[in-house]
């Protein structure tokens, strides 16, 4: 099957997606290095291997119009939502120019101006928040939807069941995207979860659900288009499961010793960036040299613009320490406006 009939994406769109996905890959790899160099602190959860998920789904969404919310593995969802890569990296470096002024960190990237409603670090925490955002949309009559990206292991939290149930009974415009990378931290899914195919768990809530290949961005895009149409047309929630794999451990503190080399080799043959690259070369849309030049350009941008910006940005001032704890000068604290 050639890509022409695999999806409705134009060649230009596919070339752009290739660049975006390669950028996301290189961005995350550079985060890894910066973490080793101790420029980035805390916990760092990286996305390589899963790029087709965020890119395929959000390519089908109205970025900046629809609301996006996710977990702590959030850098790439922010980037694809239009959040400035320099501000994301500066946040990771803990700088005041970061998305959250250095108060959030890797697990809490926010870009509310782009309707990227943030990364949250309690596994399963965003399930009800997404339903609530959808309730807010519904009450105000907009045609936005809320898209919630979470991993398979989040589905073992009560919030998964509570939120699917509420989303269905109130017919909320929310798309739950399950990035099934087969591991919950370091525990393989068949050891932690009674049902490996996560979409099957959703049938208990009478919500349409589907599982597709999460490594092929065109497949993801097509499935997401259908799902988003369903939600946007007032038909209530939808659950889309994307089968994928993360190359690195759960976080940087993870030795990644629980997986076999054979398994890793198998998945690396289905690398989402390489698959799209090879398809475009095969179709004659780009050459290998084009790809290499693209890669060089990306590496240059990351090093000379993004990393430099993060390095050179100032630390947050100490006055920021207690600035956002409570609302500033809220008159209702003191009995209302005088």
């Amino acid at each position: 099957m050639t890509s022409e009939n695999k999806s409705q994406l134009s060649l230009d769109a596919k070339k752009r997606l290739l660049r975006e996905m390669l950028f996301a890959r290189r961005f995350e790899e550079r985060c890894y290095e910066a973490y080793v160099e101790r420029k980035i602190g805390g916990f760092l959860h990286l996305y390589p291997g899963e790029e087709a998920c965020a890119h395929g789904v959000l390519e089908a969404a109205r970025v900046g119009h629809d609301y996006v919310i996710t977990s702590y593995r959030d850098h790439v969802h922010a980037l694809k939502s239009g959040v400035d890569a320099k501000a994301v990296m500066a946040e990771l470096f803990g700088k005041v120019t970061g998305t959250c002024k250095g108060l959030g960190g890797s697990m809490h990237i926010f870009g509310v101006a782009n309707r990227f409603m943030g990364g949250y670090a309690l596994v399963g925490g965003p399930f009800p928040l997404a339903a609530g955002i959808a309730k807010g949309i519904q009450m105000q009559g907009g045609d936005e939807i809320c898209i919630c990206f979470l991993g398979d292991a989040a589905n073992n939290q009560g919030t998964f069941h509570e939120s699917l149930n509420m989303a269905k009974i109130w017919n909320l415009p929310v798309l739950y995207v399950c990035e099934n990378n087969l591991y919950g931290i370091g525990t393989r899914i068949d050891r932690s979860t009674a049902v490996i195919d996560q979409y099957k768990r959703v049938s208990g809530y009478n919500i349409p659900a589907r599982q597709v290949d999460g490594q092929d961005v065109e497949v993801v895009y097509e499935a997401a288009r259908e799902a988003i149409d369903h939600v946007r047309n007032g038909n209530g929630p939808y659950f889309l499961e994307l089968m994928t794999y993360r190359y690195r451990g759960h976080s940087m503190s993870d030795s990644n010793a629980y997986r076999t080399k054979e398994e890793e080799r198998m998945w690396s043959k289905r690398d989402p960036v390489i698959m799209l690259r090879d398809r475009l070369i095969e179709e004659g849309a780009i050459t290998d040299d084009d790809y290499k030049a693209m890669d060089t350009g990306i590496l240059d941008e990351i090093e000379n613009e993004i990393i430099r910006f993060a390095e050179e940005s100032p630390e947050p001032p100490l006055e920021l320490l207690d600035k956002y704890v409570l609302a500033e000068n809220d008159p209702w604290v003191h009995g209302g406006p005088k």
């Binding site: 509310v112 670090a121 009800p128 339903a131 609530g132 519904q138 509570e162 149930n165 600035k323």
Partner: protein, 327 residues
């Protein structure tokens, strides 16, 4: 100034705020068609409809999180958790999301929700329906905690909490919904910070909040009548933040302090007020401050044991008499 019951005052605040702003909603178990376990939302379902008066499934963490998410888009949810014992299940969303989202987003998002819930020991409800959770929430940065001791406060605190941009936990009491009291006829917004001197006295300050204000007042009457001791009673309706100035001012007048709390003593209102007295006005003291707290036990079912587990006015009187060397 009309008299109304505590539940009627809460219901009135809901009704006025919902009439004013179509984005004010209320949600919780049995609050709609059934009108609310304590009638705090009676008649609102018929008036505002199921989209705004939402009967939720029994999923406390889920619907609290849903309310928070909606608040990101400008909705002002008043979330009723039927009993604070069930609020333990929602602590994840209240603490991890509502209290922290403004901070960790660098000021981009906030969660202006109100969570109302009755706590306290009522009538033989047993260990899992008699929790007092104010001490949990007052320890969390980013939350406000208030606790009305009368219908006027119940009305005015909810009015202010709905409009405030911070998440506010309102700690009500199962035994107080039928209490009568005066509520202003005109709209009234009670401050979310501060304290109220509800009885003046020169000899000792009795600090209380919510139901324990009434135990303190009963004790103060007896102390005056039977022992000639004039107690000041301070109502700490705001528990987070606590009113440092009010605590200091009163203790600086009376030089003695007793804190009356319905909860177990450890890590609670009493220990926190004592710490503030230490920090603010230690040298004003004529005697070490004392707590009158619940016993450090899960609340028992048996009526006699249940009563023995929580403080009463007599215990407050005894504590004051001991402080004055009269017992």
């Amino acid at each position: 100034m009309a008299e109304m019951m505590y539940w009627e005052a809460i219901r009135r605040a809901h009704d006025e705020e919902m009439a004013r702003d179509p984005l004010v909603i209320c949600m919780g178990e049995d609050i709609g068609v059934a009108g609310g376990t304590y009638k705090a939302t009676k008649g609102l379902y018929e008036k505002y409809g199921p989209e705004r008066v939402i009967d939720t499934p029994i999923s406390e963490n889920g619907y609290t999180g849903l309310g928070i998410g909606a608040s990101f888009l400008g909705v002002r949810p008043i979330i009723e958790i039927m009993s604070v014992n069930f609020a333990w299940l929602a602590t994840d969303q209240i603490v991890n999301t509502a209290a922290k989202v403004r901070y960790m987003s660098g000021g981009q998002l906030e969660a202006p929700i109100v969570v109302r819930s009755p706590g306290g020991t009522a009538h033989q409800l047993g260990a899992q329906h008699s929790a007092r959770m104010e001490k949990v929430f007052m320890g969390i940065a980013g939350l406000r905690v208030v606790t009305p001791s009368n219908p006027r406060q119940a009305y005015g605190l909810l009015k202010s909490a709905v409009r405030c941009n911070d998440p506010v936990f309102i700690n009500e009491h199962e035994l107080m919904y039928n209490m009568k009291g005066e509520v202003p006829d005109e709209e009234y917004f009670h401050p979310l910070e501060g304290s109220e001197v509800v009885r003046s006295g020169r000899d000792v300050t009795l600090f209380g909040y919510n139901i324990s204000v009434h135990w303190a007042l009963a004790a103060a009457d007896r102390l005056a009548r039977e022992h000639g001791i004039e107690a000041e009673v301070v109502d700490l309706y705001a528990l987070k933040p606590l009113d440092r100035d009010g605590i200091r001012d009163s203790v600086s007048r009376t030089h003695r302090a007793v804190i009356v709390e319905e909860a177990e003593p450890a890590v609670g209102v009493g220990s926190e007020v004592m710490a503030i007295i230490n920090e603010e006005c230690f040298y004003e003291l004529d005697a070490p401050p004392v707590r009158v707290s619940a016993r450090d036990v899960p609340i028992p079912y048996n009526h006699r044991l249940e009563k023995a587990a929580i403080p009463n006015p007599d215990e407050v009187v005894d504590a004051v008499l001991r402080m004055f060397g009269k017992k």
